[in-house]
Amino acid sequence: MKVTSILGYGKGEVSLNLTAMIDVVFILITFFMLIFRSIGQENYKLSLPTGCPAAVIPEQQDDSGVTVSVFRPTQASETAGQAAPVVYAVRREIFDPTSEAYRDQPGDLVADMADQIARQVGRRSDDLVHLRADKDMTYGQVQQVLLALSRARVKTVQLAAYREQSSPPSEGSSP
Protein backbone atom coordinates (compact mmCIF):
# COMPACT_ATOMS: atom_id res chain seq x y z
CA MET A 1 0.00 0.00 0.00
CA LYS A 2 1.50 3.29 -0.96
CA VAL A 3 0.73 6.53 0.75
CA THR A 4 1.72 9.75 -0.81
CA SER A 5 2.50 12.52 1.59
CA ILE A 6 0.44 15.69 1.46
CA LEU A 7 3.21 17.75 0.01
CA GLY A 8 3.87 15.05 -2.49
CA TYR A 9 7.46 14.57 -1.41
CA GLY A 10 8.42 10.94 -1.62
CA LYS A 11 6.23 7.96 -1.31
CA GLY A 12 5.95 6.03 1.95
CA GLU A 13 4.95 2.42 2.11
CA VAL A 14 2.61 1.23 4.84
CA SER A 15 2.05 -2.47 5.27
CA LEU A 16 -0.28 -4.26 7.62
CA ASN A 17 0.81 -7.67 8.78
CA LEU A 18 -2.40 -9.65 8.68
CA THR A 19 -0.98 -13.06 9.41
CA ALA A 20 -0.59 -12.38 13.10
CA MET A 21 -4.13 -11.00 13.30
CA ILE A 22 -5.54 -14.09 11.63
CA ASP A 23 -3.67 -16.28 14.08
CA VAL A 24 -5.12 -14.37 17.01
CA VAL A 25 -8.63 -14.51 15.62
CA PHE A 26 -8.42 -18.24 15.02
CA ILE A 27 -7.10 -18.75 18.52
CA LEU A 28 -10.01 -16.75 19.90
CA ILE A 29 -12.50 -18.81 17.92
CA THR A 30 -10.87 -22.05 19.05
CA PHE A 31 -10.86 -20.83 22.65
CA PHE A 32 -14.55 -19.99 22.62
CA MET A 33 -15.47 -23.22 20.90
CA LEU A 34 -13.56 -25.26 23.46
CA ILE A 35 -14.84 -23.51 26.58
CA PHE A 36 -18.42 -23.56 25.46
CA ARG A 37 -20.30 -26.66 26.47
CA SER A 38 -23.18 -27.24 24.22
CA ILE A 39 -26.19 -28.34 26.16
CA GLY A 40 -27.67 -31.36 24.56
CA GLN A 41 -30.50 -31.98 26.96
CA GLU A 42 -33.86 -30.30 26.84
CA ASN A 43 -33.31 -26.71 27.73
CA TYR A 44 -36.50 -24.81 28.31
CA LYS A 45 -36.20 -21.26 29.49
CA LEU A 46 -36.79 -21.16 33.20
CA SER A 47 -35.22 -19.81 36.37
CA LEU A 48 -34.09 -22.48 38.76
CA PRO A 49 -34.19 -22.05 42.53
CA THR A 50 -31.05 -20.45 43.95
CA GLY A 51 -29.25 -20.55 47.26
CA CYS A 52 -28.83 -24.33 47.60
CA PRO A 53 -25.23 -25.03 48.65
CA ALA A 54 -25.91 -28.76 48.92
CA ALA A 55 -26.63 -29.02 45.20
CA VAL A 56 -24.01 -31.17 43.52
CA ILE A 57 -22.67 -30.07 40.15
CA PRO A 58 -22.06 -33.18 38.04
CA GLU A 59 -18.63 -33.50 36.52
CA GLN A 60 -20.02 -34.78 33.30
CA GLN A 61 -23.26 -33.83 31.71
CA ASP A 62 -25.71 -36.59 31.12
CA ASP A 63 -27.28 -35.71 27.79
CA SER A 64 -29.35 -38.85 27.68
CA GLY A 65 -30.86 -38.23 31.11
CA VAL A 66 -34.61 -37.94 31.50
CA THR A 67 -35.53 -34.35 32.30
CA VAL A 68 -38.95 -33.27 33.45
CA SER A 69 -39.51 -29.50 33.30
CA VAL A 70 -42.18 -27.29 34.81
CA PHE A 71 -42.30 -23.75 33.47
CA ARG A 72 -44.31 -21.02 31.81
CA PRO A 73 -43.62 -20.66 28.07
CA THR A 74 -41.94 -17.32 27.30
CA GLN A 75 -44.29 -16.26 24.51
CA ALA A 76 -47.34 -16.83 26.62
CA SER A 77 -45.91 -14.80 29.48
CA GLU A 78 -45.50 -11.79 27.23
CA THR A 79 -49.23 -11.50 26.68
CA ALA A 80 -50.31 -8.44 28.60
CA GLY A 81 -52.59 -8.88 31.57
CA GLN A 82 -52.72 -12.65 31.36
CA ALA A 83 -51.10 -15.15 33.64
CA ALA A 84 -49.25 -17.63 31.49
CA PRO A 85 -50.38 -21.23 31.96
CA VAL A 86 -47.96 -23.70 33.46
CA VAL A 87 -46.64 -26.31 31.09
CA TYR A 88 -45.00 -29.65 31.79
CA ALA A 89 -42.39 -31.28 29.60
CA VAL A 90 -41.00 -34.79 29.71
CA ARG A 91 -37.88 -34.45 27.63
CA ARG A 92 -39.20 -32.80 24.45
CA GLU A 93 -42.81 -33.80 24.82
CA ILE A 94 -44.98 -30.99 26.13
CA PHE A 95 -48.04 -31.50 28.28
CA ASP A 96 -50.27 -28.45 28.41
CA PRO A 97 -53.01 -28.62 31.06
CA THR A 98 -55.01 -25.97 29.20
CA SER A 99 -55.18 -28.01 26.01
CA GLU A 100 -58.51 -29.50 24.97
CA ALA A 101 -57.51 -33.02 25.89
CA TYR A 102 -56.75 -32.15 29.49
CA ARG A 103 -59.33 -29.42 30.06
CA ASP A 104 -62.10 -32.01 29.97
CA GLN A 105 -60.11 -34.77 31.67
CA PRO A 106 -57.56 -33.18 34.00
CA GLY A 107 -56.82 -36.55 35.57
CA ASP A 108 -55.32 -37.77 32.29
CA LEU A 109 -52.47 -35.28 32.57
CA VAL A 110 -50.71 -37.12 35.38
CA ALA A 111 -51.40 -40.49 33.75
CA ASP A 112 -50.00 -39.42 30.39
CA MET A 113 -46.94 -37.86 31.99
CA ALA A 114 -46.38 -41.01 33.99
CA ASP A 115 -46.59 -43.14 30.83
CA GLN A 116 -44.13 -40.94 29.01
CA ILE A 117 -41.73 -40.92 31.97
CA ALA A 118 -41.93 -44.69 32.26
CA ARG A 119 -41.22 -45.06 28.56
CA GLN A 120 -38.18 -42.77 28.73
CA VAL A 121 -36.84 -44.30 31.91
CA GLY A 122 -37.29 -47.79 30.50
CA ARG A 123 -34.65 -47.02 27.90
CA ARG A 124 -32.04 -46.42 30.56
CA SER A 125 -30.29 -48.70 32.95
CA ASP A 126 -31.15 -46.51 35.93
CA ASP A 127 -34.37 -44.74 36.83
CA LEU A 128 -32.81 -41.34 37.44
CA VAL A 129 -34.97 -38.35 36.55
CA HIS A 130 -33.97 -34.70 36.71
CA LEU A 131 -36.69 -32.32 37.82
CA ARG A 132 -36.22 -28.76 36.55
CA ALA A 133 -38.92 -26.44 37.78
CA ASP A 134 -39.07 -22.67 37.63
CA LYS A 135 -38.53 -21.13 41.04
CA ASP A 136 -41.78 -19.17 40.85
CA MET A 137 -43.91 -22.27 40.34
CA THR A 138 -46.04 -23.24 43.32
CA TYR A 139 -45.70 -26.55 45.06
CA GLY A 140 -49.19 -27.45 43.91
CA GLN A 141 -48.11 -27.12 40.30
CA VAL A 142 -44.89 -29.10 40.70
CA GLN A 143 -46.73 -31.70 42.72
CA GLN A 144 -48.31 -33.01 39.52
CA VAL A 145 -44.87 -34.11 38.41
CA LEU A 146 -44.19 -35.81 41.73
CA LEU A 147 -47.44 -37.70 41.33
CA ALA A 148 -46.48 -38.72 37.81
CA LEU A 149 -43.05 -39.83 38.96
CA SER A 150 -44.56 -41.86 41.75
CA ARG A 151 -47.01 -43.42 39.33
CA ALA A 152 -44.17 -44.27 36.95
CA ARG A 153 -42.41 -45.98 39.87
CA VAL A 154 -39.42 -43.71 39.64
CA LYS A 155 -37.52 -43.72 42.89
CA THR A 156 -34.50 -41.54 42.24
CA VAL A 157 -35.12 -37.91 41.45
CA GLN A 158 -32.67 -35.03 41.34
CA LEU A 159 -33.96 -31.51 41.86
CA ALA A 160 -32.16 -28.92 39.77
CA ALA A 161 -30.99 -25.82 41.62
CA TYR A 162 -28.19 -23.31 41.70
CA ARG A 163 -25.73 -23.33 44.55
CA GLU A 164 -25.31 -19.56 44.71
CA GLN A 165 -27.89 -17.21 46.18
CA SER A 166 -27.82 -14.75 43.27
CA SER A 167 -29.43 -15.72 40.01
CA PRO A 168 -27.13 -16.50 37.09
CA PRO A 169 -27.01 -13.96 34.23
CA SER A 170 -29.22 -15.73 31.75
CA GLU A 171 -30.99 -18.96 31.17
CA GLY A 172 -31.75 -21.03 28.19
CA SER A 173 -30.25 -22.04 24.96
CA SER A 174 -26.90 -23.48 24.33
CA PRO A 175 -24.28 -21.66 22.24
Binding site: L18, T19, I22, V25, L28, I29, F32, M33, F36, I39, N43, L48, P49, T50, G51, C52, P53, A54, A55, V56, I57, P58, V70, H130, R132, A133, K135, D136, M137, T138, Y139, G140, Q141, V142, Q143, L146, L147, L149, S150, V154, K155, T156, V157, Q158, L159, A160, A161, Y162, R163, E164, Q165, S166, P168, P169, S170, E171, G172, S173, S174, P175
Partner: protein, 159 residues
Protein backbone atom coordinates in the same frame (compact mmCIF):
# COMPACT_ATOMS: atom_id res chain seq x y z
CA UNK B 1 7.74 -11.23 -31.56
CA UNK B 2 8.40 -10.85 -27.88
CA UNK B 3 6.69 -13.28 -25.50
CA UNK B 4 4.70 -11.61 -22.65
CA UNK B 5 6.18 -11.70 -19.18
CA UNK B 6 3.65 -14.13 -17.75
CA UNK B 7 4.07 -16.84 -20.33
CA UNK B 8 3.86 -20.37 -19.11
CA UNK B 9 6.96 -22.48 -18.91
CA UNK B 10 8.12 -23.43 -22.37
CA UNK B 11 8.56 -26.98 -23.55
CA UNK B 12 12.27 -26.69 -23.19
CA UNK B 13 11.72 -26.20 -19.43
CA UNK B 14 13.09 -22.75 -19.31
CA UNK B 15 11.13 -20.39 -17.14
CA UNK B 16 9.98 -17.43 -19.12
CA UNK B 17 7.94 -15.87 -16.37
CA UNK B 18 6.24 -16.69 -13.08
CA UNK B 19 2.53 -16.57 -12.36
CA UNK B 20 2.27 -14.98 -8.96
CA UNK B 21 0.12 -16.98 -6.56
CA UNK B 22 -1.95 -14.78 -4.29
CA UNK B 23 -4.07 -15.69 -1.34
CA UNK B 24 -7.00 -13.37 -0.83
CA UNK B 25 -6.56 -12.74 2.86
CA UNK B 26 -9.01 -9.90 3.30
CA UNK B 27 -12.18 -11.87 2.49
CA UNK B 28 -10.96 -14.64 4.76
CA UNK B 29 -10.53 -12.20 7.61
CA UNK B 30 -14.01 -10.87 6.94
CA UNK B 31 -15.46 -14.36 7.13
CA UNK B 32 -13.52 -15.18 10.27
CA UNK B 33 -14.64 -12.02 12.03
CA UNK B 34 -18.19 -12.66 10.89
CA UNK B 35 -18.05 -16.13 12.38
CA UNK B 36 -16.62 -14.79 15.59
CA UNK B 37 -19.27 -12.12 15.91
CA UNK B 38 -21.96 -14.66 15.08
CA UNK B 39 -20.85 -17.02 17.85
CA UNK B 40 -20.51 -14.22 20.36
CA UNK B 41 -23.93 -12.79 19.60
CA UNK B 42 -25.87 -16.05 19.42
CA UNK B 43 -24.28 -17.65 22.45
CA UNK B 44 -26.17 -17.43 25.69
CA UNK B 45 -24.74 -18.50 28.97
CA UNK B 46 -26.27 -20.52 31.70
CA UNK B 47 -24.99 -20.96 35.20
CA UNK B 48 -23.84 -24.39 36.13
CA UNK B 49 -26.75 -26.36 37.52
CA UNK B 50 -26.47 -28.43 40.60
CA UNK B 51 -28.73 -31.27 41.60
CA UNK B 52 -30.20 -32.18 44.97
CA UNK B 53 -30.76 -35.92 45.19
CA UNK B 54 -34.15 -37.06 46.41
CA UNK B 55 -35.87 -40.37 46.71
CA UNK B 56 -39.57 -40.80 46.37
CA UNK B 57 -41.16 -43.03 49.01
CA UNK B 58 -41.44 -46.70 48.29
CA UNK B 59 -44.60 -48.56 48.94
CA UNK B 60 -43.78 -50.77 51.88
CA UNK B 61 -45.99 -52.48 54.35
CA UNK B 62 -46.21 -50.38 57.46
CA UNK B 63 -44.60 -52.12 60.36
CA UNK B 64 -45.35 -51.58 63.97
CA UNK B 65 -41.82 -50.38 64.53
CA UNK B 66 -42.01 -47.67 61.85
CA UNK B 67 -41.41 -44.25 63.27
CA UNK B 68 -43.87 -41.48 62.55
CA UNK B 69 -42.11 -38.93 60.33
CA UNK B 70 -41.27 -35.52 61.75
CA UNK B 71 -43.49 -33.03 59.96
CA UNK B 72 -42.05 -29.81 58.60
CA UNK B 73 -44.77 -27.51 57.31
CA UNK B 74 -44.16 -24.58 54.98
CA UNK B 75 -46.65 -21.82 54.26
CA UNK B 76 -46.08 -18.88 51.95
CA UNK B 77 -46.97 -15.55 53.57
CA UNK B 78 -48.63 -12.77 51.55
CA UNK B 79 -46.39 -10.15 53.17
CA UNK B 80 -43.32 -12.13 52.15
CA UNK B 81 -41.32 -14.96 53.62
CA UNK B 82 -42.28 -18.49 54.56
CA UNK B 83 -43.85 -19.64 57.79
CA UNK B 84 -42.14 -22.81 58.97
CA UNK B 85 -43.44 -25.16 61.64
CA UNK B 86 -41.45 -28.17 62.84
CA UNK B 87 -43.53 -30.85 64.48
CA UNK B 88 -45.91 -29.27 66.93
CA UNK B 89 -43.59 -26.39 67.82
CA UNK B 90 -44.36 -22.74 67.31
CA UNK B 91 -44.01 -21.51 63.74
CA UNK B 92 -41.32 -19.04 62.73
CA UNK B 93 -40.87 -16.81 59.72
CA UNK B 94 -38.01 -17.35 57.29
CA UNK B 95 -36.94 -15.53 54.14
CA UNK B 96 -38.76 -12.30 54.79
CA UNK B 97 -35.91 -10.35 53.25
CA UNK B 98 -34.74 -11.18 49.72
CA UNK B 99 -31.69 -13.38 49.90
CA UNK B 100 -32.34 -14.47 53.49
CA UNK B 101 -31.40 -18.09 53.83
CA UNK B 102 -33.25 -20.96 55.43
CA UNK B 103 -30.35 -21.75 57.77
CA UNK B 104 -32.44 -20.95 60.86
CA UNK B 105 -34.60 -23.92 59.83
CA UNK B 106 -31.55 -26.16 60.15
CA UNK B 107 -30.75 -24.83 63.63
CA UNK B 108 -34.31 -25.29 64.88
CA UNK B 109 -34.50 -28.71 63.27
CA UNK B 110 -31.43 -29.94 65.12
CA UNK B 111 -32.97 -28.76 68.39
CA UNK B 112 -36.22 -30.60 67.69
CA UNK B 113 -34.42 -33.78 66.63
CA UNK B 114 -32.40 -33.75 69.83
CA UNK B 115 -35.45 -33.07 72.00
CA UNK B 116 -37.41 -35.90 70.42
CA UNK B 117 -34.49 -38.33 70.44
CA UNK B 118 -34.51 -38.65 66.68
CA UNK B 119 -31.53 -39.23 64.42
CA UNK B 120 -30.81 -37.94 60.94
CA UNK B 121 -31.80 -41.34 59.56
CA UNK B 122 -35.35 -40.98 60.81
CA UNK B 123 -38.02 -39.92 58.32
CA UNK B 124 -38.99 -36.29 57.85
CA UNK B 125 -42.14 -35.28 56.00
CA UNK B 126 -42.01 -31.99 54.11
CA UNK B 127 -45.52 -30.54 53.85
CA UNK B 128 -45.55 -27.31 51.85
CA UNK B 129 -48.84 -25.57 51.25
CA UNK B 130 -50.01 -25.74 47.66
CA UNK B 131 -49.24 -22.05 47.17
CA UNK B 132 -45.69 -22.23 48.51
CA UNK B 133 -43.11 -21.19 45.96
CA UNK B 134 -41.03 -24.04 44.60
CA UNK B 135 -37.84 -22.12 45.37
CA UNK B 136 -38.72 -22.07 49.07
CA UNK B 137 -39.50 -25.77 49.02
CA UNK B 138 -36.15 -26.56 47.40
CA UNK B 139 -34.28 -24.30 49.80
CA UNK B 140 -35.93 -26.01 52.76
CA UNK B 141 -35.05 -29.39 51.27
CA UNK B 142 -31.50 -28.18 50.77
CA UNK B 143 -31.26 -27.36 54.48
CA UNK B 144 -32.55 -30.79 55.40
CA UNK B 145 -30.06 -32.44 53.08
CA UNK B 146 -27.17 -30.41 54.49
CA UNK B 147 -28.11 -31.53 57.99
CA UNK B 148 -27.80 -35.11 56.84
CA UNK B 149 -31.52 -35.84 56.60
CA UNK B 150 -31.84 -38.01 53.52
CA UNK B 151 -35.08 -39.75 54.41
CA UNK B 152 -37.35 -36.90 53.32
CA UNK B 153 -40.90 -37.46 52.13
CA UNK B 154 -42.69 -34.90 49.97
CA UNK B 155 -46.32 -34.75 51.02
CA UNK B 156 -49.10 -34.59 48.46
CA UNK B 157 -51.38 -31.70 49.40
CA UNK B 158 -54.79 -30.54 48.31
CA UNK B 159 -54.74 -27.58 45.93
Amino acid sequence: MNAPANTLRSLTGRRRGRTPLRLAIVPMIDIVFLLLVFFLVTASFRGQEGFLPAELPRRVEASLAELEPLEVRLACQPQGGTLVQIGGDAAFLVGRQPGESFDILGVRLVEVLASQGRTTRDPVKLIPEAGTKWEQVVQAYDVLWRRGLSNVIFAIVEE
